[in-house]
């Protein structure tokens, strides 16, 4: 089985050391904020994966129809966004970075919101992907650990495996490249 990490924010000589077949490397610098106020895709490139990162619900709803994946900052559970994702095949990204950066009660709240949104993704048949969104090598986790965290978030083993293998594989297959 092949594993994929859809969203990583640093360059590394060989990500297969971590157990991944393909990794999506963000083109911008590690300190850039990807907040988007507009749902329009910029510089569409067939060899790129476009991930929309936003906290605005309206932007995410429209972006779900146009982008390959979306990351709803704050994990707000919006049903229209999920329905749009299900129709267009857009993935909802669940990165580990917010979990690693927090602790205690804050981490529990994030887990709670991720769990709710993930259960809704399954209910509305929207695709989902667990990613690392790592800014350095210390943020990268192996596929087995990402599966274990998926199970912590309420997924079954098969669903958690799909989040790091079959769902991202569709995106990589369509894009033909690893830059995002």
């Amino acid at each position: 089985m092949e594993f994929y990490d859809l969203h990583v924010r640093f360059e590394f000589p060989d990500f297969s050391d971590f157990g991944f077949s393909k990794v999506g490397v963000a083109g911008a610098g590690v300190n850039d904020v990807f907040e988007s106020n507009s749902p329009d895709k910029k510089a569409q490139n067939q060899n790129q994966i476009n991930i929309l990162v936003s906290s605005k619900v309206e932007v995410l709803r429209i972006g779900a129809k146009k982008f390959e994946a979306i990351y709803p900052v704050g994990f707000y559970p919006d049903l229209e966004m999920l329905r749009n994702c299900a129709k267009s095949g857009c993935l909802v990204e669940f990165p580990l970075a917010p979990l690693l950066a927090s602790s205690g009660a804050e981490r529990s709240k994030i887990i709670n919101r991720m769990r709710l949104l993930l259960s809704l993704c399954i209910k509305y048949k929207a695709g989902y992907a667990i990613t690392s969104m790592a800014k350095d090598k210390f943020g990268v986790r192996r596929p087995e650990e990402m599966v274990a965290i998926g199970m912590l978030l309420g997924l079954s083993r098969e669903q958690a495996l799909a989040s790091v293998s079959s769902y991202p594989a569709k995106i990589f297959g369509n894009s033909g490249g690893i830059k995002c």
Binding site: R107, D136, F138, E144, E145, L152
Partner: protein, 137 residues
């Protein structure tokens, strides 16, 4: 002494430690236990009952180590999740990456040795678990 059918079954989880600085055995042990405790609470900790059994990393000269934690066989996935969520040790960044899980230490060492040999140069080779590890050049 309990009958074999009644005794608690364990699993041995081998994980790689990558850190900005060298970490001692007690420090790694504390990080693992604190992670399980904060994520699953005292009840979850009591179900998992983690115990560090092997640690290789001191005196290696590089900020990378290998450790094996024993836990209950029903809580392996939870322990893996807790290991994955360790991101720092004090002021230094670190990452614990699970390599293998096995029911016995002997089999675990065999699997790790096979993994190390199969991946070729530049990979760690665990010999016999007595604080001896070779980094192939």
């Amino acid at each position: 002494m309990l009958k074999p059918t009644l005794r608690q079954k364990h699993r041995y989880v081998a994980f790689e430690i990558e850190c900005e600085r060298e970490m001692g055995r007690d420090e790694v042990d504390a990080e693992v236990k604190n992670s399980i405790l904060s994520l699953f609470g005292e009840r979850g900790f009591s179900l998992a009952m983690p115990k560090m059994v092997i640690y290789e990393g001191e005196g290696m000269g590089k900020a990378k180590g290998l450790a094996v934690v024993r836990c209950s066989h029903t809580e392996v996935d939870n322990v893996k999740a807790a290991l994955a969520l360790v991101s720092s040790a004090g002021p230094s960044k670190c990452a614990f990456r699970v390599l293998r899980v096995s029911g016995t230490i002997k089999k675990l060492k065999m699997k790790l040795a096979q993994d190390g040999a199969g991946e070729g140069e530049g990979k760690r080779e665990v010999l016999d678990g007595t604080c001896e590890a070779k980094l192939q050049a």
